[in-house]
Amino acid sequence: MLRGKTALVTGASRGIGKAIALELASQGAKVAVNFAGNEAKAQEVVKEIESLGGEAIKVKANVADETDVKQMIKHVIDSFGSLDILVNNAGITRDNLLMRMKEEEFDQVIDTNLKGVFLCTKGVTRQMMKQKSGRIINIASVVGVSGNPGQANYVAAKAGVIGMTKSTAKELASRNILVNAIAPGFIETDMTDQLTDEQRQGMQELIPLAKLGKGEDVAKVVRFLASQDANYITGQTIHVDGGMVM
Protein backbone atom coordinates (compact mmCIF):
# COMPACT_ATOMS: atom_id res chain seq x y z
CA MET A 1 0.00 0.00 0.00
CA LEU A 2 2.90 2.37 0.76
CA ARG A 3 5.72 0.63 -1.06
CA GLY A 4 8.37 3.10 -2.21
CA LYS A 5 7.12 5.78 0.16
CA THR A 6 9.16 7.33 2.94
CA ALA A 7 7.86 8.49 6.28
CA LEU A 8 9.02 10.41 9.33
CA VAL A 9 7.14 9.73 12.56
CA THR A 10 7.95 12.03 15.49
CA GLY A 11 7.90 10.60 18.98
CA ALA A 12 7.97 7.08 17.59
CA SER A 13 9.93 5.26 20.29
CA ARG A 14 6.79 4.23 22.15
CA GLY A 15 3.03 4.52 22.44
CA ILE A 16 0.92 5.65 19.51
CA GLY A 17 4.00 6.80 17.57
CA LYS A 18 5.53 3.34 17.76
CA ALA A 19 2.31 1.75 16.55
CA ILE A 20 2.22 4.21 13.63
CA ALA A 21 5.85 3.52 12.69
CA LEU A 22 5.23 -0.25 12.70
CA GLU A 23 2.01 0.08 10.70
CA LEU A 24 3.55 2.28 7.99
CA ALA A 25 6.54 -0.05 7.77
CA SER A 26 4.23 -3.06 7.48
CA GLN A 27 2.76 -1.41 4.37
CA GLY A 28 6.19 -1.10 2.78
CA ALA A 29 7.16 2.46 3.71
CA LYS A 30 10.69 3.28 4.83
CA VAL A 31 10.31 4.83 8.25
CA ALA A 32 12.40 7.32 10.21
CA VAL A 33 11.78 6.77 13.91
CA ASN A 34 12.26 10.06 15.75
CA PHE A 35 12.99 10.14 19.46
CA ALA A 36 13.96 12.88 21.88
CA GLY A 37 15.51 10.99 24.77
CA ASN A 38 15.07 7.25 24.71
CA GLU A 39 17.47 5.99 22.07
CA ALA A 40 17.29 2.39 23.26
CA LYS A 41 13.51 2.30 22.77
CA ALA A 42 13.84 3.89 19.33
CA GLN A 43 16.44 1.29 18.40
CA GLU A 44 14.01 -1.45 19.47
CA VAL A 45 11.40 -0.05 17.10
CA VAL A 46 13.95 0.02 14.26
CA LYS A 47 14.94 -3.57 15.06
CA GLU A 48 11.32 -4.68 15.15
CA ILE A 49 10.68 -3.11 11.74
CA GLU A 50 13.82 -4.73 10.32
CA SER A 51 12.88 -8.11 11.75
CA LEU A 52 9.62 -7.87 9.80
CA GLY A 53 11.56 -7.20 6.62
CA GLY A 54 11.11 -3.42 6.62
CA GLU A 55 13.55 -0.55 6.44
CA ALA A 56 13.95 2.03 9.20
CA ILE A 57 16.37 4.48 10.76
CA LYS A 58 16.30 6.25 14.09
CA VAL A 59 16.83 9.98 14.33
CA LYS A 60 17.22 12.05 17.47
CA ALA A 61 15.63 15.50 17.71
CA ASN A 62 13.72 17.65 20.11
CA VAL A 63 10.82 18.80 17.92
CA ALA A 64 10.58 22.07 19.87
CA ASP A 65 14.08 23.05 18.70
CA GLU A 66 14.33 24.43 15.18
CA THR A 67 18.00 23.52 14.71
CA ASP A 68 17.30 19.94 15.80
CA VAL A 69 14.31 19.71 13.47
CA LYS A 70 16.24 21.02 10.46
CA GLN A 71 19.04 18.52 11.06
CA MET A 72 16.57 15.69 11.52
CA ILE A 73 14.73 16.40 8.28
CA LYS A 74 17.97 16.82 6.33
CA HIS A 75 19.20 13.52 7.71
CA VAL A 76 15.99 11.73 6.73
CA ILE A 77 15.98 13.16 3.20
CA ASP A 78 19.68 12.40 2.77
CA SER A 79 19.10 8.82 3.95
CA PHE A 80 15.90 8.06 2.03
CA GLY A 81 16.21 10.43 -0.94
CA SER A 82 12.65 11.69 -0.45
CA LEU A 83 10.06 12.38 2.22
CA ASP A 84 6.46 11.56 1.42
CA ILE A 85 4.74 11.27 4.79
CA LEU A 86 5.19 13.29 7.98
CA VAL A 87 3.37 12.16 11.10
CA ASN A 88 3.49 14.79 13.84
CA ASN A 89 2.96 12.60 16.85
CA ALA A 90 5.48 13.74 19.49
CA GLY A 91 3.75 15.06 22.57
CA ILE A 92 4.08 15.51 26.31
CA THR A 93 1.74 16.24 29.19
CA ARG A 94 2.26 18.47 32.22
CA ASP A 95 -1.19 18.23 33.76
CA ASN A 96 -2.26 20.60 36.48
CA LEU A 97 -5.27 22.61 37.48
CA LEU A 98 -5.20 25.96 35.76
CA MET A 99 -4.82 27.77 39.08
CA ARG A 100 -1.78 25.69 39.95
CA MET A 101 -0.25 25.45 36.49
CA LYS A 102 3.17 27.02 36.27
CA GLU A 103 4.15 29.12 33.32
CA GLU A 104 6.88 26.63 32.44
CA GLU A 105 4.38 23.76 32.44
CA PHE A 106 2.28 25.70 29.97
CA ASP A 107 5.24 26.65 27.81
CA GLN A 108 6.77 23.17 27.69
CA VAL A 109 3.56 21.60 26.42
CA ILE A 110 2.92 24.35 23.86
CA ASP A 111 6.54 24.16 22.66
CA THR A 112 6.54 20.42 22.07
CA ASN A 113 2.92 19.76 21.11
CA LEU A 114 2.15 22.87 19.06
CA LYS A 115 5.36 24.60 18.02
CA GLY A 116 6.87 21.20 17.28
CA VAL A 117 4.14 20.55 14.72
CA PHE A 118 4.81 23.96 13.17
CA LEU A 119 8.57 23.40 12.95
CA CYS A 120 8.34 19.90 11.49
CA THR A 121 5.64 20.90 9.01
CA LYS A 122 7.63 23.93 7.89
CA GLY A 123 10.72 21.77 7.65
CA VAL A 124 9.23 19.18 5.27
CA THR A 125 7.20 21.56 3.12
CA ARG A 126 10.10 22.50 0.87
CA GLN A 127 10.81 18.87 -0.01
CA MET A 128 7.13 18.04 -0.49
CA MET A 129 6.61 21.09 -2.71
CA LYS A 130 9.50 19.96 -4.89
CA GLN A 131 8.00 16.48 -5.07
CA LYS A 132 4.61 18.04 -5.76
CA SER A 133 3.08 15.60 -3.34
CA GLY A 134 3.06 14.84 0.34
CA ARG A 135 0.97 13.81 3.30
CA ILE A 136 1.11 15.45 6.70
CA ILE A 137 -0.82 13.77 9.48
CA ASN A 138 -1.07 15.50 12.84
CA ILE A 139 -1.95 13.57 15.94
CA ALA A 140 -4.24 15.88 17.90
CA SER A 141 -6.62 14.69 20.62
CA VAL A 142 -10.35 14.64 21.30
CA VAL A 143 -9.72 16.85 24.31
CA GLY A 144 -8.60 19.51 21.81
CA VAL A 145 -12.24 19.50 20.71
CA SER A 146 -14.04 18.81 23.98
CA GLY A 147 -11.74 20.35 26.62
CA ASN A 148 -10.58 18.53 29.75
CA PRO A 149 -10.07 19.77 33.29
CA GLY A 150 -6.45 19.77 34.40
CA GLN A 151 -5.14 19.98 30.86
CA ALA A 152 -5.48 23.64 29.84
CA ASN A 153 -1.99 23.56 28.30
CA TYR A 154 -2.43 20.24 26.49
CA VAL A 155 -5.93 21.09 25.26
CA ALA A 156 -4.79 24.51 24.02
CA ALA A 157 -1.95 22.88 22.10
CA LYS A 158 -4.15 20.16 20.59
CA ALA A 159 -6.89 22.64 19.60
CA GLY A 160 -4.08 24.68 18.05
CA VAL A 161 -2.92 21.67 16.07
CA ILE A 162 -6.42 21.18 14.66
CA GLY A 163 -6.49 24.83 13.56
CA MET A 164 -3.01 24.64 12.09
CA THR A 165 -4.04 21.51 10.18
CA LYS A 166 -6.80 23.47 8.45
CA SER A 167 -4.58 26.45 7.61
CA THR A 168 -1.78 24.27 6.32
CA ALA A 169 -4.22 22.19 4.30
CA LYS A 170 -5.51 25.32 2.55
CA GLU A 171 -2.04 26.72 1.93
CA LEU A 172 -0.61 23.55 0.45
CA ALA A 173 -3.61 22.02 -1.34
CA SER A 174 -2.57 23.49 -4.69
CA ARG A 175 0.74 21.61 -4.38
CA ASN A 176 -0.96 18.28 -3.76
CA ILE A 177 0.15 18.18 -0.14
CA LEU A 178 -2.70 16.86 1.98
CA VAL A 179 -2.84 17.71 5.66
CA ASN A 180 -5.16 16.02 8.13
CA ALA A 181 -5.43 15.50 11.85
CA ILE A 182 -6.43 12.51 13.91
CA ALA A 183 -8.03 13.07 17.29
CA PRO A 184 -7.48 9.95 19.39
CA GLY A 185 -9.56 9.44 22.48
CA PHE A 186 -8.51 7.31 25.39
CA ILE A 187 -5.73 5.08 24.01
CA GLU A 188 -3.72 2.63 26.12
CA THR A 189 -0.20 4.13 26.31
CA ASP A 190 2.38 5.17 28.87
CA MET A 191 0.74 8.58 28.82
CA THR A 192 -2.69 7.30 29.81
CA ASP A 193 -1.15 4.88 32.31
CA GLN A 194 -0.31 7.94 34.38
CA LEU A 195 -3.99 8.66 34.93
CA THR A 196 -5.52 7.65 38.24
CA ASP A 197 -8.06 4.81 38.42
CA GLU A 198 -10.69 7.40 39.14
CA GLN A 199 -9.84 9.40 36.03
CA ARG A 200 -9.68 6.21 33.99
CA GLN A 201 -13.09 5.04 35.24
CA GLY A 202 -14.57 8.46 34.60
CA MET A 203 -13.32 8.56 31.04
CA GLN A 204 -14.39 5.02 30.25
CA GLU A 205 -17.96 5.92 31.18
CA LEU A 206 -17.85 8.62 28.52
CA ILE A 207 -16.97 6.18 25.75
CA PRO A 208 -19.97 4.69 23.89
CA LEU A 209 -17.85 1.71 22.83
CA ALA A 210 -17.04 1.29 26.56
CA LYS A 211 -13.39 0.35 26.12
CA LEU A 212 -10.02 1.97 25.63
CA GLY A 213 -8.52 2.22 22.18
CA LYS A 214 -5.21 0.76 21.09
CA GLY A 215 -2.30 2.39 19.34
CA GLU A 216 -3.08 0.24 16.30
CA ASP A 217 -6.56 1.78 16.06
CA VAL A 218 -4.92 5.15 15.48
CA ALA A 219 -2.13 3.73 13.31
CA LYS A 220 -4.59 2.17 10.86
CA VAL A 221 -6.20 5.57 10.25
CA VAL A 222 -2.76 7.08 9.70
CA ARG A 223 -2.10 4.35 7.15
CA PHE A 224 -5.35 5.23 5.37
CA LEU A 225 -4.67 8.97 5.35
CA ALA A 226 -1.15 8.33 4.04
CA SER A 227 -2.42 6.10 1.22
CA GLN A 228 -3.81 6.77 -2.25
CA ASP A 229 -7.24 5.88 -0.88
CA ALA A 230 -7.34 9.27 0.87
CA ASN A 231 -6.58 11.37 -2.22
CA TYR A 232 -9.63 13.61 -1.77
CA ILE A 233 -9.38 14.29 1.97
CA THR A 234 -7.61 17.32 3.39
CA GLY A 235 -8.01 19.67 6.35
CA GLN A 236 -10.07 17.14 8.31
CA THR A 237 -9.89 15.92 11.87
CA ILE A 238 -10.83 12.27 12.21
CA HIS A 239 -11.83 11.13 15.67
CA VAL A 240 -10.58 7.72 16.77
CA ASP A 241 -12.20 7.69 20.16
CA GLY A 242 -14.88 5.01 20.43
CA GLY A 243 -17.51 7.68 19.97
CA MET A 244 -16.37 9.72 22.97
CA VAL A 245 -16.80 13.09 21.26
CA MET A 246 -19.30 13.58 18.47
Binding site: R126, M129, K130, E171, L172, S174, R175
Partner: protein, 77 residues
Protein backbone atom coordinates in the same frame (compact mmCIF):
# COMPACT_ATOMS: atom_id res chain seq x y z
CA UNK B 1 24.36 40.21 -15.44
CA UNK B 2 22.72 39.41 -18.75
CA UNK B 3 23.45 35.74 -18.25
CA UNK B 4 21.82 35.76 -14.81
CA UNK B 5 18.74 37.42 -16.27
CA UNK B 6 18.43 34.81 -18.99
CA UNK B 7 18.68 31.97 -16.49
CA UNK B 8 16.15 33.59 -14.18
CA UNK B 9 13.85 34.28 -17.11
CA UNK B 10 13.88 30.65 -18.21
CA UNK B 11 12.85 29.49 -14.74
CA UNK B 12 10.12 32.13 -14.49
CA UNK B 13 8.72 31.19 -17.89
CA UNK B 14 8.71 27.48 -17.02
CA UNK B 15 7.30 27.88 -13.54
CA UNK B 16 4.66 30.54 -14.15
CA UNK B 17 3.84 29.56 -17.70
CA UNK B 18 4.03 33.14 -19.02
CA UNK B 19 5.16 34.69 -22.32
CA UNK B 20 8.88 35.36 -22.47
CA UNK B 21 8.24 38.93 -23.54
CA UNK B 22 6.46 39.64 -20.25
CA UNK B 23 9.48 38.71 -18.19
CA UNK B 24 11.38 42.01 -17.93
CA UNK B 25 13.61 43.27 -15.14
CA UNK B 26 10.78 45.52 -13.99
CA UNK B 27 8.08 42.84 -14.02
CA UNK B 28 6.49 42.21 -10.62
CA UNK B 29 5.92 38.54 -9.91
CA UNK B 30 2.57 39.09 -8.29
CA UNK B 31 1.22 42.07 -10.26
CA UNK B 32 2.56 41.43 -13.76
CA UNK B 33 3.21 37.70 -13.85
CA UNK B 34 0.18 36.57 -11.86
CA UNK B 35 2.17 34.60 -9.31
CA UNK B 36 0.64 33.93 -5.91
CA UNK B 37 2.68 33.93 -2.69
CA UNK B 38 3.34 30.21 -2.94
CA UNK B 39 4.52 30.54 -6.55
CA UNK B 40 7.09 33.09 -5.41
CA UNK B 41 8.29 30.74 -2.65
CA UNK B 42 8.69 27.98 -5.24
CA UNK B 43 10.50 30.29 -7.64
CA UNK B 44 12.95 31.23 -4.93
CA UNK B 45 13.50 27.52 -4.22
CA UNK B 46 14.24 26.88 -7.89
CA UNK B 47 16.57 29.85 -8.08
CA UNK B 48 18.44 28.48 -5.06
CA UNK B 49 18.93 25.21 -6.91
CA UNK B 50 19.83 26.85 -10.24
CA UNK B 51 22.42 29.16 -8.71
CA UNK B 52 23.49 26.79 -5.94
CA UNK B 53 22.92 29.29 -3.17
CA UNK B 54 20.70 29.76 -0.17
CA UNK B 55 18.36 32.73 -0.03
CA UNK B 56 17.24 33.51 3.53
CA UNK B 57 13.56 34.08 4.31
CA UNK B 58 14.35 37.74 5.04
CA UNK B 59 15.97 38.24 1.64
CA UNK B 60 13.30 36.21 -0.14
CA UNK B 61 10.58 38.47 1.22
CA UNK B 62 12.23 41.47 -0.43
CA UNK B 63 12.12 39.89 -3.87
CA UNK B 64 9.14 41.39 -5.68
CA UNK B 65 10.33 41.83 -9.24
CA UNK B 66 12.43 39.81 -11.65
CA UNK B 67 15.08 42.54 -11.29
CA UNK B 68 15.11 42.12 -7.50
CA UNK B 69 15.94 38.45 -7.97
CA UNK B 70 18.61 39.06 -10.63
CA UNK B 71 20.26 41.83 -8.59
CA UNK B 72 20.25 39.79 -5.42
CA UNK B 73 21.84 36.81 -7.16
CA UNK B 74 24.49 38.99 -8.78
CA UNK B 75 25.22 40.76 -5.50
CA UNK B 76 26.34 37.59 -3.78
CA UNK B 77 27.96 35.72 -6.64
Amino acid sequence: MAETFERVKKIVVDRLDVEESKVTMEASFKDDLEADSLDVVELVMELEDEFDMEISDEEAEKIETVGDAVNYINSIQ
